[in-house]
Assembly symmetry: C2
Homo-oligomer: 341 residues x 2
Amino acid sequence: MASLKDIAKECGVSVATVSKALNDQADISSQTKEKVRAAAERLGYSPNAAAISLKTDRTENIGVLFVDEARSGLTHEFFARILDSFKRTAEAHGYDITFINSSSANGSRLARMSYLEHARYRRFDGVVIACVDFTDPEVIELIGGEIPVVTIDHIFNNRTAILSDNIGGVKDLTTYCYNKGHRKIAFIHGSKSTVAQNRLSSFYRTAEQLGLEVPDAYVIPSDYRNLEAACRATEQLLDLPDPPTCILYPDDYSAFGGIKAIRRRGLRIPEDISIAGFDGTPIAEQIDPRLTTVAQNTEEMGRLAAMHLIEEIRHPKTSLVEVITVGTEVSPGESVGTCRK
Amino acid sequence: MASLKDIAKECGVSVATVSKALNDQADISSQTKEKVRAAAERLGYSPNAAAISLKTDRTENIGVLFVDEARSGLTHEFFARILDSFKRTAEAHGYDITFINSSSANGSRLARMSYLEHARYRRFDGVVIACVDFTDPEVIELIGGEIPVVTIDHIFNNRTAILSDNIGGVKDLTTYCYNKGHRKIAFIHGSKSTVAQNRLSSFYRTAEQLGLEVPDAYVIPSDYRNLEAACRATEQLLDLPDPPTCILYPDDYSAFGGIKAIRRRGLRIPEDISIAGFDGTPIAEQIDPRLTTVAQNTEEMGRLAAMHLIEEIRHPKTSLVEVITVGTEVSPGESVGTCRK
DNA sequence: TTGTATGCGTTATCAT
DNA sequence: ATGATAACGCATACAA
């Protein structure tokens, strides 16, 4: 592949001149620039990112660590939507996106590298992390490293974080159900993550403020996006001597598990029992009845994560560590009905 | 960040020795190796991918071009599942994954770069392309370039392709409906792509073989994953003087649009009318009634794409250009009922 | 306006 | 077993 040297030879000028010409520097005559550009075109010149990076100490490449329970965020709708928005924003600002991987290769260079080592190896200008398990030692190591980091849905010391307003979302949703007359609201929740904990706390707090009683049996842990588990939890709730009139699920996908269990018993939604999801996936609006849920603004989360990371990359001195909360919104749907009991 | 030079200084040996020691070459004494490794550890040495790439002319990085109608493959379930599988396979073999982007940055280096220029700039060892529009000149340029390429769901001259057996899938699905007694089968199909064309041809051919009559009004184009369009197409079909008893949709998502239109008229699935999707998304199994669909083996497609691309990267001389078809399977579900009319 | 020289971090060749 | 040296492709300070 043609290099600056080839162009220099072709044009009878020095490599330095070619470099400056192609970078459109002021101290090169326009004739020379034209000549150089033409030769570059003719020879099929392509700049070499590795060489540039070696000189400039910047890669214009951002590392992405998106890990869900299944060790991969790609098929996870919520993550995928954030990542997509992040990617578009980063690309619009001249950055490429490379995945930081799970370090399990055999024999290769990347084998045995931790996330941080991997990120250093590739000299990422910055890193974005969305992750279910922020207690993973490798994740903590990465966050504690010298590379600019933005985290999504988790706060770390001295690192910019983009948060979805889970607390407000649960509060609004619970209040919405309350206003529909529901007094027996069950809460199936994810576990382990801070997100899940925040949501659970918000549920209890809101219930207290509304004067709702929440029996322990109404609160059941269930992994995110685990349809089977949500299905079982629902059955458990329906089997109670005093079952809830409304069930809140950890995510829209889990709500499908609930629907399954409910329909299996011949109950109708929302006439016999109400349900709500969380996330606001497109499909939630399309099922029958339209799923009541909390829409998370993934577009904005991804955009803000990219903007703040790039700001920190470009202006490390002046950029501030911020914790940014992105609002959520109750998407009414039709799966929470008026309760008259 | 510590470099070989720093380690050399620390250990009182030459840079060459350090390099060889860390690469575990045979001509370095084990004492020296140990000393060097210890120093590397102590100084927090991290290899520099850019420098290595400059020397070795390999990046161990694979470019990914996934583009759907909305110019973004990440939120596209089908692509996301293939990409996820591809990624896992590539990582297991020591490759990173970087997106080839849509070349629209301002002012940056990547601005105005075509896909091929971008891929050259990053010196990707290979490239994988999944794309709705393979007639895009930039895509064609990339495929015609010197970088190893594997395409997904599209055949190009002299390039390895991984195909989903769309033809067999449509054939099997149509036959399945036929065997359920349906003689009036409508086909809502994607447009523009070869995939869509293959499926349509297969539908017509299968119908002919089965002796089915297919009125023109039973075949309606509709974009993939466009729920509204599928909804309208369904209404159009239901309004016919002689409406179909079974409707096939371009994808599972579109089937939701059909369900909406059908339910809106108070019709039941599958008692009053049968439907089927395409893809085999997890959600298809979870709705009520379970959606009859054609499962595409995205896991296998991604894995094979990665394996073949890596084979071509590592053994360019001996690797063959192959067209590989990955089987599909009818997933019965319950949305196609027995037809007695 | 152009060229020379240097070095970024690494690998590889050839001496020693 | 180890080291000196060149080279990969490029940007840049400085000299001309």
